[in-house]
Subunit: 224 residues, 2 copies
């Protein structure tokens, strides 16, 4: 029997968190864990844990809890972490090279295979072990190296065009650091990380506009 369901992104994001907790527990040699103990130890919500996991099957044993090893393996499969992913970064500026450096050394199943830029003076150089290619050869390199994840690290005004280039090359998973809203085709997953908005949200908090706010209303309802 199969039940079709739409699982929310917040829920799958939490699976990442759960996996980290399980990694810790596994490292400590724990065999079993209950949603309640995860709640108290890692400051999570037990009902939410059970609901999130139940989206993907019945992984637990009633009256007992979850087997750490088995649940960990399930999460790895669900998150696709049992497969290698090959990443390219478009934009070899400050952020792009930083990310190449950062991800490049992470011992994980994501590996950066290529950087791309339009600037002739950068093309051919290397950042760590990663070579910078001409954006013109994008489709070719993506195909050659079987790249399946793209990171957009170009200025906002070029981001939409880059996204279309990426999509045309057949890449289905894109992480975007350009601070602009992008339109994406169905079947392509776009995750935008907006460092500017994040900083501004801190600034907003410091300015006192966030959280509890006193809305000023003059007699006629207009603000001056």
């Amino acid at each position: 029997m199969m039940k079709a369901e739409k699982i929310s992104e917040v829920s799958t994001n939490r699976l990442s968190i759960y996996l980290r907790c399980l990694n810790e527990l596994a490292a400590e040699g724990e065999r079993m864990v209950s949603s309640g103990s995860l709640e108290s130890r890692f400051n999570l919500n037990s009902a939410q844990i059970r609901k999130d996991l139940a989206n993907f099957g019945e992984f637990g044993v009633r009256g007992v809890g979850y087997y750490v090893k088995s649940l960990r393996e399930h999460l790895i499969t669900i998150l696709g972490l049992d497969k290698e992913h090959r990443v390219c970064i478009i934009g070899a500026g400050r952020l792009g090279t930083a990310l190449a450096d950062y991800y490049g050394f992470k011992s994980s199943n994501f590996q950066v295979f290529a950087l791309f830029d339009i600037d002739k003076t950068k093309i051919g150089k290397k950042v760590g072990k990663v070579k910078i290619f001409d954006i013109k050869s994008f489709a070719e390199i993506v195909k050659r190296d079987n790249i399946d994840v793209a990171v957009i690290a170009v200025p906002g005004e070029f981001a939409q065009n880059v996204l279309e280039l990426v999509t045309r090359a057949g890449i289905k998973a894109v992480m975007n650091f350009a601070p602009v809203p992008l339109r994406v085709l169905d079947g392509v997953k776009l995750k935008t990380i907006d460092l500017t908005t994040s900083l501004e949200s801190l600034s907003c908090f410091l300015a006192g506009s966030n959280g509890k706010y006193l809305k000023p209303i003059s007699k006629n309802g207009r603000i001056y």
Copy 2:
């Protein structure tokens, strides 16, 4: 008259987006704009725009729209972008130095004043114009330079301790790149950006576990 209200973070985050749009319109010399035209041009939701703005006052003119210049100034004030912010980054590893470099050159009201690390071989060196200090002198430097924003870019296992150090130094706005959930005191704003979870959400999508998912149920409800 004053009305006390709690404004959600998603709403204030959207103000950043609106400000960007207004900057574009201002650069083009537009004097007025309506929520409807913002919707069609920037792919936003007009009702949401009106609600978000109405949280902070009546900035519009019925039957007409919003004055670009005036609304832009209001948003800048609300977001606290009329004030300079001084940033420090704790952790002079790959990510920390990358961010120092990235934010350091951004022409904005955020300026990176100091990097901190525990590693003696890094202390004293410079990343661009930003010097790396001993974490032991954290409170002192923060006070000396009037730093009001901290960025945590240390490995997960140290993040909570660093957060407490930051809080004790009186900093009220913290951006965290360590992939761990942190406990924070009331009155301190913590924004966590989890690059690992973001990548894993892409991986999850590629694995087909995201979006519409077929929940497998065997006869007895157990998954094998």
